[in-house]
């Protein structure tokens, strides 16, 4: 089958690889009909994550049709022919964490837990196509995908909605949603969202779905005007991080107290123009700091006292100079995590069915899988032209 493999930083290629096989008794094989490139795939593309090996198949946002199921898959839940979305974290359903719906913290799905033990203290769940750190699973940017614990992980989808409305349930829609939801928004809240990428876009719309009073979206107007426009189309007020003083603007918009919830939908490769951003860049180049936490610093600074900072942008290692004084003295709450996708799919599917949101707004291109290397380049270097690219393995 065809699959997109990582070869080196900035080098991915579509290759012929063996078809996926049932390896454990509760596996299923899914024939992929649509699969996306994620902003966090760019961290791999850029070589920021040191645990990739040449030949790894990438991709963690697939959906498709179940072609084969293992002998112990619960046939009351999943059968051959089902149309399914595959969440990016792999859960077991039985451990301490899955029982508490912390699916991305599953204890049992990372076959290489030593990395997580060392880097984080305990290993986290396996993730499709996201390096040895998350278990080294083959990913979904391919014609077929093997999914472990199929009866726990595969999310059954209706047949009457097109792929482009459903495929984002694998990652970015629940992620944007959780970014706001787990901060427990109130109807009169002002929610500031750093990052107008696809996750940020869903966070904006989720904030309104969850009844927020006001949503402010921040990004670089000069670099990504289309993304800012898309944010405004959803009803957000936008702030240009390059040309405006973010802190002052946020205070203005909130009557001087700061936003109630501050969402970091940017992560460790934050761009920035201030002194601390330059500091981060230099240190990262000298390999002395792995993450660039510019947005976290700004969010802590701007957030209202007693507010919540929600971090769902991806970070991998260590950050310097986090304003712990502000954090502590202002009584902030920090909510974070890789999205526990399984928890949200039912209610989000309901939002889609009811017409309250049409997730396909975010798609800017649909390209054949064979052109995936061009798609990556486009997504990486022309971020304003491509907001979300969906790949078609059959084309």
């Amino acid at each position: 089958m065809k699959a997109l493999t990582w070869c080196a930083p900035y080098k991915v290629s579509v290759e012929n690889v063996p078809d996926p096989k049932i390896l454990n008794r509760r596996d299923a094989i899914v024939r992929v009909t649509s699969t996306c490139i994620c902003g966090s795939d760019l961290h791999l593309y850029d070589g920021y994550v040191p645990f990739m090996t040449p030949g790894d198949i990438m991709g963690h946002e697939p959906m498709g049709i179940v072609e084969e199921i293992g002998p112990d898959v619960d046939r009351n839940r999943i059968n051959v022919g089902d149309r399914v979305v595959v969440p990016f974290p792999i859960a077991c359903g039985s451990c301490f964490f899955c029982r508490r719906q912390l699916y991305s913290c599953c204890d049992n799905t990372n076959p290489k837990p030593q990395h997580g033990d060392k880097m984080f203290g305990q290993p986290t769940a396996g993730i499709f196509g996201y390096s040895q750190l998350t278990g080294g699973y083959a990913g979904g940017q391919a014609e077929g995908l093997r999914v472990p614990f199929a009866d726990v992980n595969l999310q059954k989808m209706p047949t009457d909605l097109p792929d482009h409305q459903l495929v984002f349930l694998s990652d970015i829609f629940p992620t944007g949603y959780m970014a706001v939801e787990h901060a427990k928004p109130q109807p009169d809240d002002t929610i500031a969202i750093w990052g107008c990428g696809p996750v940020g876009q869903f966070a904006i719309r989720s904030a309104f779905l969850l009844g927020a009073g006001k949503v402010i979206a921040l990004d670089d107007e000069g670099r990504v005007p289309n993304r800012m426009k898309m944010a405004r189309e959803a009803g957000a007020i936008t702030v240009d991080i390059r040309d405006e003083y973010v802190y002052e603007r946020l205070l203005e918009e909130t009557g001087g107290i700061g936003p109630d919830i501050c969402v970091d939908a940017v992560g460790m490769e934050a761009h920035g123009f201030s002194l601390d951003a330059v500091y981060d860049k230099v240190k990262a180049m000298a390999m002395m700091e792995t993450d660039r936490p510019k947005v976290i610093r700004q969010a802590i600074h701007c957030c209202r006292k007693g507010g919540t900072v929600s971090i769902i942008g991806v970070y991998g290692g260590f950050s310097d100079k986090i304003p712990t004084g502000a954090l502590m003295n202002k009584g902030l709450t920090i909510k974070t995590g890789q999205c526990h996708v399984h928890r949200y799919v039912p209610e989000l599917l309901e939002h889609i069915r009811s017409g309250r949101i049409d997730p396909s707004f975010v798609v800017t291109q649909r390209m054949p899988l064979s052109q995936a290397p061009e798609a990556y380049k486009l997504f990486r270097f022309k971020q304003d032209e491509s907001i979300k690219i969906v790949l078609d393995p059959a084309a």
Partner: protein, 301 residues
Amino acid sequence: MSVRNFGRGFVLPVDAKDGSFGESIMTTLHTRFGPGVDVDRGLDFGQSQQQQQGQQRRINVGENERAVSVAAGAILALQGLSRGSIVGLLTAGVGGMFIYRGIAGHCGLYEKMGLDTAHSGEGMEEREISEQGIHVEQAMLINKPAEELYRYWRDFNNLPAIMTHLISVQVQDDRRSHWVAKAPKIAGGQVEWDAQITADEPNLLIGWRSLPGSQVDHIGQIRFEKALGDRGTNVHVFMDYVPPAGKLGHWVATLFGEAPGRQMRDDLRSFKRIMETGEILTTIGQPRGTCTGEGKRQETL
């Protein structure tokens, strides 16, 4: 070995057996030099002697070797002293050390290396294994009741499935079993031992030890404790073992990434995965690319 006391501290071995050459010399030394010399095989150190000499002074040189050590030491000492040179002094020093280690039965070098020629092939007492062996302990929370975990573990035939370092386990009867495990290459690549269950409290704990004559002396215990709330069971494994190539083997193996603590954690994790989900997920056999060019098919990792 039995001795007859011919009076005035002079004893001769009666009923001489293999190895008694050394024993007879040692008995003579024992009577000549008094209780400072420990003839017994280390089973039961006299209280006061043990306290006087401290934990370090235990017998770790075999009987025959001690006798040879004394003789060789004497030769070297005389050789060295008959010179007046530095080399002579050095030789005499070495000779003196040999005489000492022969009489006392304790070799500092052996101790550092974890070697023991006094007790090879004989098996060690459990207390000795705990005192001298490497201690490994790991705990793991498993979301299943203690009964299920105990039942699975008690059937040792199940263990090779969860312990990747076990090659095979043969259960011989209610108490005994024969084990074969992989070992670091410097220890020969494989170790075998016979084990016996020493404690068995259903749903609470299982204790076992290797039988004397095993390649690796060890004692172990697994305990099942109900965890707080509805979290399941805390499984706690303790092991003391004397590694095949002495303590030296342990440190070298650690260098090469085969640390026993890590191994045990991995094994407990496998146990948890089998009990909670029924299987241990693998990526072996999954597709991957080669990055070497179009159309090249690569078999799986």
